[in-house]
């Protein structure tokens, strides 16, 4: 199945799934079949910072499914979608659960940006970072009749007159689809403030705008456009990661570094625990995620969703979060959005 978007219609659609889950839970509780989570049990909760069907949800639920199937946690893992403010609401709940050793949260690049947008007084590494699970590449997309045949054509025209290129993305400012064109502009020597960015409410509206040639170029997660790329309705000029991706009309697209642009940009997702948990529990949780990562089911989930296997834990992950936080802050500062 194609990964669903972070925002927009698919989000609303997906929200319904959450409701359904909640209603069925309510029914279960009402009929007394519900499982009570006692202090002694090994049951856990996984917080998801957006709605069902979104990127965080897919990653979080895939991880939980593997952990439950292989009985890695020794109990049930209940998934709770905490929707609001681009992940800030979920992050606030995690920070408030200080010392709770039975809660985890799926987080990613979009949450970093939203914490800045909403002026939250904490960063991701203020919680207890456990592990990065996956990476997702962004792509540079144009309509089939676009004058730009390569990423070089685009960069040349863009540098000549930054105001002549209208850029679209599927996230509001601070989100991955916004940060990527801004960092790309900076990398090729364009003032990020000159970039004409049009935010769309998710991948669907962005695709429409590209198909109708309303914008010159779109920046978004490649996975959402595999259908259109395969059919030649859209063209992929470049991918943002370290290596090329596989797929019809996708494997031809070079990475930015291959094209002589010094930028590697990836959207990533990982797992955090609340602040103030014991070192022993932190090690246990990391061990569970490592065990999950080794299973064939997880490798299958990576393949099915087109995710890149980028797994790092503990202090490596903490260092990575600090570096990401710095990069987001720099980009937003350049744009005077901080």
């Amino acid at each position: 199945m194609r990964p669903l978007t972070r925002h927009g219609t698919r989000r609303r659609a997906a929200r319904t799934v959450a409701t359904v889950a909640a209603l069925s839970t309510a029914v279960l509780l009402a009929t007394g079949c519900g499982v009570t989570r006692g202090a002694q049990s090994d049951d856990m909760t996984m917080l998801i910072p957006n709605s069902p069907g979104g990127g965080y949800d897919q990653t979080g639920r895939a991880a939980v499914a593997v952990m439950e199937n292989d009985d890695i946690t020794g109990g049930n893992v209940e998934v709770t979608n905490v929707i609001g403010a681009g992940g800030s609401v979920a992050m606030t709940r995690l920070m408030n659960a200080e010392g709770d050793e039975r809660t985890m949260m799926t987080a990613g690049l979009g949450v970093v940006g939203s914490l800045y947008s909403f002026g939250a007084p904490y960063k991701l590494d203020d919680a207890t970072p456990l592990a990065q699970l996956i990476e997702d590449q962004e792509g540079v997309l144009v309509p089939p009749d676009s004058p730009f045949e390569t990423i070089d054509d685009l960069v040349k025209a863009w540098k000549a007159d930054p105001g002549s290129i209208v850029v679209g993305g599927g996230s509001s400012p601070g989100g991955p689809d916004h940060l990527f064109p801004m960092q790309l502009a900076s990398a090729v020597g364009i003032d990020a403030r000159d970039v004409r960015y049009v935010p769309y409410d998710g991948g669907g509206p962005l695709t429409t705008a590209l198909l109708g040639s309303k914008i010159d170029v779109g920046f978004s997660g490649v996975g959402e456009f595999t259908g259109q790329l395969k059919d030649g309705e859209l063209r992929l000029l470049a991918v943002s990661g370290e290596e090329r991706l596989a797929g019809d009309n996708i494997s031809d697209a070079p990475t930015l570094t291959e094209s002589g642009i010094d930028l590697v940009f990836t959207n990533w997702r990982g797992v955090l625990a609340p602040p103030g948990i014991s070192d022993q529990r932190r090690a246990e949780l990391i061990a569970m995620l490592e065990e999950m990562h080794e299973t064939p089911e997880w490798q299958q989930a990576l393949e099915d969703n087109g995710w890149i296997d980028e797994f790092k834990t503990g202090d490596d992950f903490t260092a990575f979060l600090q570096e990401q936080d710095q990069r987001v802050a720099t980009t937003l500062e350049e744009l005077d959005l901080l």
């Binding site: 659609a13 929707i83 609401v89 947008s117 909403f118 209208v166 769309y200 669907g204 309303k214």
Partner: protein, 517 residues
């Protein structure tokens, strides 16, 4: 006519007794789940989708088609009976539908909704069969300027539902527009009117506003007068539509279909604008014929919007099948469903997997027909629900209103909002402010802003981009005619139509004011 042959092939594959049974189960399940408040068609489909897994693709399709139409119809049922619309598309149905129900014509309202849905769904699906690829390529050419022009048209039309007192109407409209401003500004990422409440950053859901103002406001209003007003028993009414009802319904059914389908077929159309335009049109036509029952339960006000809603839903199959673009919550759920059945929507779908597509379209037509057959006899049964004594009935409405609002986002905060909006609804009734302009403000304001900002962002602030598309120019011409024509007519001869419009709503307001005193 090649397509017709292929469609017949689809019917051949689909029509077996076993498949029909699956379809009937789907329709019933869909209706019963869709009837639960707060569960619109999108949620009903999402909820019941797993039921179809494990069946072979054709059986799964036809069951799915049943669930889909059942869920759509179930949503209208609660809008009509309990005044709790499950999604923004059924807000217009709730307006006159609930008034009809309270006048003892619930069965007729439900019947006209069911037949209207059937006609609109059938015409819409046939249009998809014959024109989907052609329409899809035209539809993506329509950009933000044209959508903005449509919003201007809708906004101008709002003035005709302001009610007897334009001042009160505008107050309500601007309260609605203000509520629509709350939340994150998509273009800059800045929170607006959110008072540092992260939960307000994601905008106030239209469903919560509609349920709060309609259902909760009404329940509080009734509660405030329960002791002083005599127990008003809802008349039983006849169980079936009369010949006159049919005569008054068929026009709105067809006009609603004509409004709904194009809006569904364009990627950012949605069902809100066509249901609203249909409502306005029917109101004007009724007024011109001097038979304006709007504000007291006009059957045209149910038949038209309900047909528009369903035709728009059928229209969404155009971008969904031809481009792989989900444009509404329901179609996003369906996209996931199709992928589960092995259909990969996109430009090559019609050539790659014709068997599955034609089986799907045939299933949709059969599901639609079966819905009518199963639900028409049920309309009088549902209507009996309203004969529950008033305290228990309103207690039930309050319960379902709360459940519905909570179910939208799963945030307890929405219950607090619901209560606040319910109090606002009570105050509006107390001061005879019409509620319709408020709801329209909440729906239209954000859409209008979104499209204006998008057009401006693409053009780099050049205002003339707003009339850069042919369709936009045409719509502005329509708007100009709509504004100028009545003025000209009034100068030539005193227009009875305009007076009738005012009287219709003035009568409504006066009644409410009388109740106040």
């Amino acid at each position: 006519m090649d397509n017709l042959g292929l469609l017949m092939g689809g019917f051949g594959a689909v029509l077996t007794p076993e498949n029909l049974m699956y379809c009937a189960i789907g329709v019933l399940l869909g209706t019963f789940v869709g009837v639960l408040p707060g569960i619109g068609p999108a949620m009903a489909v999402a909820l019941l989708l797993p039921v179809t897994y494990g069946l072979d693709p054709v059986a799964a399709f036809i069951m799915f088609a049943g669930i889909y139409y059942g869920g759509m119809y179930g949503g209208s049922t609660t809008a009509i009976l309990l005044n709790t619309p499950g999604e923004s598309a059924s807000v217009m149905t709730a307006l006159e539908g609930n008034l009809m129900a309270r006048a003892g014509k619930a069965a007729q309202a439900l019947a006209t909704a069911a037949i209207g849905s059937f006609i609109a769904g059938t015409i819409g699906t046939l249009l998809v069969v014959f024109f989907a690829p052609a329409l899809a390529s035209v539809a993506v050419e329509i950009g933000a300027p044209s959508y903005f022009a449509l919003m201007v048209l809708a906004m101008v039309s709002v003035t005709s539902v302001l009610g007897g007192s334009p001042l009160r109407g505008f107050i309500a409209l601007f309260i609605g527009l203000t509520i629509g401003l709350v939340g994150l500004d998509l273009n800059t990422g800045q929170p607006r009117l959110s008072f540092d409440q992260p939960l307000l950053a994601d905008r106030i859901d239209v469903v919560v506003v509609a349920v709060g103002i309609f259902a909760l406001g009404e329940a509080l209003w009734v509660a405030a007068h329960l002791r002083r007003s005599p127990a008003h028993v809802i008349p039983v009414g006849r169980p079936w539509m009369s010949r006159a009802d049919f005569r008054r319904s068929w026009g709105p059914w067809l006009r609603g279909t004509a409004y709904g389908f194009p809006f569904g077929a364009v990627p950012a159309g949605g069902a809100e604008i066509p249901t609203f335009l249909s409502y306005i049109t029917e109101k004007r036509i009724a007024a011109r014929h001097g038979k304006d029952e709007f504000g007291r339960g006009a059957i045209e006000g149910v038949a038209g919007p309900e047909a528009a809603n369903n035709a728009s839903a059928a229209g969404t199959f155009v971008p969904l099948l031809a481009l792989g673009l989900p444009v509404t919550a329901t179609s996003a759920v369906m996209l996931a469903a199709f992928q589960g059945y092995g259909i990969e929507p996109g430009p090559s779908l019609m050539t790659d997997q014709p068997d599955l597509v034609w089986a799907l379209l045939a299933s949709l037509l059969i599901g639609n027909a079966l819905l009518l057959v199963l639900n028409l006899p049920l309309a009088p049964v549902w209507a009996k629900l309203l004969r529950i004594p008033r305290p228990q009935l309103y207690a039930g409405i309050l319960f379902f209103a709360a459940l519905g609002s909570y179910a939208t986002n799963l945030q307890p905060f929405d219950l607090f909002l619901l209560l606040l909006l319910g109090l606002l609804g009570l105050m509006m009734r107390r001061f005879a402010l019409p509620v319709l302009p408020l709801i329209l403000g909440v729906i239209l304001g954000p859409l209008m802003e979104l499209k204006l900002r998008e057009a401006m962002a693409i053009s780099g602030g050049e205002v003339d981009a707003l009339w850069s598309e042919p369709l936009a120019v045409v719509i502005y011409a329509v708007v100009a005619v709509a504004i100028i024509a009545p003025l000209v007519l009034r100068t030539i001869r005193p227009a009875p139509a305009a007076v009738a419009v005012d009287e219709g709503l003035a009568g409504d307001t006066t009644r409410e004011e009388e109740t106040v005193r």
